[in-house]
Amino acid sequence: MLLPLQQLFVTRLVITPMTIDKDTIPRIARLARLEIAPERQSALSEELASILSWVEQLNALDTSAVEPLASVTGHDLPLRDDIVTDGNDPDAVLSNAPEKTSNFFVVPKVVE
């Protein structure tokens, strides 16, 4: 059974099937430093393909002469005075650290 929302949009969702190869999810998961369980990869691959197919409809628009919009406010990024307004509070900065030692965050060894 279709849900009301799906019924509503079924006529609008003309999706051209798109496939993405099996290496794509591991590749972007690696870029995002995101561990994905192997058994989830094929489902995610299908989900990603369906979303990418759906956004393909943007290609119906010719945007070759359109300036990309990154900020709606249109104002320049304001600069503040180059003075110290905050700081010297390592306890607050470190208060949520999973691991810390003498005013430092601790991470696994990165240099042999």
Binding site: L3, I51, L52, W54, L58, R80, N96, P108
Partner: protein, 493 residues
């Protein structure tokens, strides 16, 4: 006073001034309401002791005649706002145990005006969702239930992402609720729960101290019981903040005055493209009523065209995940949040993020990473930004002819929790709300009627940038004409 919970914020504030009740009594009544309605899972933390302390301080200020605009008013805070000394999780496993050392600017404004914090409210994980089902704390139940039809007897979603906030408002377990809206996360849950929800102009409310989702779209705004409370709360929340580089330094129009201005002579556009094929006839009929109400009050309604509307959702679902994947890179298990140990630094990152994020957040990080990755950046991300420009241009053009736009808030009323829906179908909830986020312009949802099953439906007004006063003028007229005075079956009493 016998029924403190039935007072709006404006009425409660007046009752406090007249000494008809104390802030402590009001807060105690709401803390009891939270206990009585705990089954809806709206609250993820109740700060009862802090609330009573703040209420006592309010009583002291009121006794001296120094009460602020929101003095003694009990507020429930969406868990996307950092609250100093109170755990803030964005309803995500990865932020469990995170206790901010600072307060968000928006909530600081509320406390500075005398409001009382009751606790933190459930939401979709990192505000990514439209049904409040992606929260690590589990879903929230809408206090409204269908009186008849297929939905009768089913637990319904309050909408999302501000689902806990809208549900708590409808359950009368808080009197005001700040929400955040990236693609409809204030307006859609407000509509599903019979509340007023306003997303202001981008930059009106500081984003400092709000957990970031998609920074070019995120805006905080009020969820309230009526339009007057919305005007009151919006005024408190807004304001320039040097701590947010996108904050606007422009005075807010007098929203309390706008409540009684009316719409005589106002021109309202009815966008052709918001009529969808196969649309729910009840929604169409309500939209038509809204138009008649505004015309009866002296506005003229004209059809207008926003030709790129259909491209708003797909553009949004490129821009928002792209920004999210970048923003959420900060959750690395080093500075805050949870960590899962790994053999190497990269291994620790991947394990921490794999365990800490839920499925919907992972999906959006992957989409965002994909559209920003080498070889795809221009085809997806730049393309979406170009389409975003066209959508903004549509609004700029149409606002040369009209003062505001009238549309439905959502394509349906609240739907059942736990329905299997694919990602794209879930995205379609936001079809009427997303364009205002892309264009950075203000929009309000007003409860305007009930479906034949007895569920709330909302109408949306959209205005040009910085014209929140236009929204309040129109919303006040719709509210009066609609006479929406229904209370959810799951409300505390």
């Amino acid at each position: 006073m016998s029924d403190l919970l039935s007072l709006t914020a404006v009425a409660a504030r007046s009752a406090l001034d007249k000494k008809e009740c104390s802030a402590s009594e009001l807060t105690a009544a709401y803390l009891k309401a939270i206990e009585d309605t705990a089954d809806n899972n709206a609250y993820v933390a109740v700060t009862a002791e802090k609330a009573m302390d703040m209420a006592k301080a309010s009583d002291t200020r009121l006794a001296k005649g120094e009460g602020g605009a929101l003095e003694g008013i009990p507020v429930g805070v969406k868990d996307m706002f950092c609250t100093k000394g109170v755990e803030t999780t964005a309803s995500s496993q990865i932020l469990k145990g995170f206790v901010p050392t600072y307060e968000s600017t928006v909530t600081s404004h509320l406390w500075a005006d005398g409001a009382v914090m009751l606790g933190k409210l459930n939401c979709d994980e990192f505000a990514m969702g439209s049904a409040n089902e992606t929260s690590v704390f589990g879903p929230v139940t809408n206090p409204w239930t269908a009186a008849s039809g297929d939905l009768k007897g089913k637990a319904l979603t309050p909408g999302g992402s501000s689902g806990g906030s809208a549900a708590a408002m409808a359950a009368r377990s808080c009197l005001l609720a700040p929400g955040t809206d990236t693609g409809g996360s204030i307006r859609q849950p407000a509509a599903f729960c019979g509340m007023v929800g306003l997303k202001p102009t981008y930059g009106r409310c500081s984003r400092r101290g709000i957990v970031a989702f998609a920074s070019s779209l995120d805006q905080a705004g009020p969820i309230t019981r009526d339009v007057a409370d919305c005007a009151l709360m919006m005024t408190s929340m807004a304001g320039h903040d040097a701590g947010d580089s996108t904050s606007i330094d422009a005075p807010m129009p007098d929203l309390m005055a706008a409540l009684s201005t009316g719409v005589k002579g106002m021109r309202i556009g009815i966008p052709d493209q918001y009529t969808l094929e196969g649309m729910n006839q009840e929604i169409v009929a309500l939209w038509e009523k809204g138009r008649a109400w505004l015309e009866d009050a002296g506005a003229s309604c004209v059809p207008v065209s926003l030709p790129h509307t259909q491209y708003a959702l797909p553009a949004y679902y490129i821009v928002a995940p792209a920004e999210a994947s970048s923003n959420l890179a900060r959750y690395d298990g080093v500075r805050y949040g949870q960590r899962v140990e790994g053999a190497t630094l990269d291994d620790m990152y991947a394990k921490t993020r794999g365990a800490g994020f839920g499925d919907e957040v992972k999906r959006r990080i992957l989409i965002g990473t994909y559209v920003l990755s080498a070889g795809y950046y221009d085809a997806y991300y730049i393309k979406a930004q170009q389409v975003r420009r066209l959508i903004q241009q549509d609004f700029l053009t149409v606002f040369e002819q009209v003062d505001a736009l009238l549309t439905p808030s959502t394509p349906t009323a609240a739907f059942p929790l736990g329905e299997k829906m694919d990602a794209v179908s879930m995205f379609l909830n936001d079809v009427f709300t997303v364009p205002a986020n892309l264009a950075g312009i203000p929009a309000i949802s007003v409860p305007s009627g009930l479906s034949s099953d007895g569920l709330p439906l909302g109408l949306q007004l959209i205005a040009p940038a910085l014209r929140e006063d236009t929204l309040i003028r129109g919303a006040a007229v719709i509210e009066k004409a609609a006479g929406f005075d229904y209370v959810a079956t799951g409300a505390a009493s």
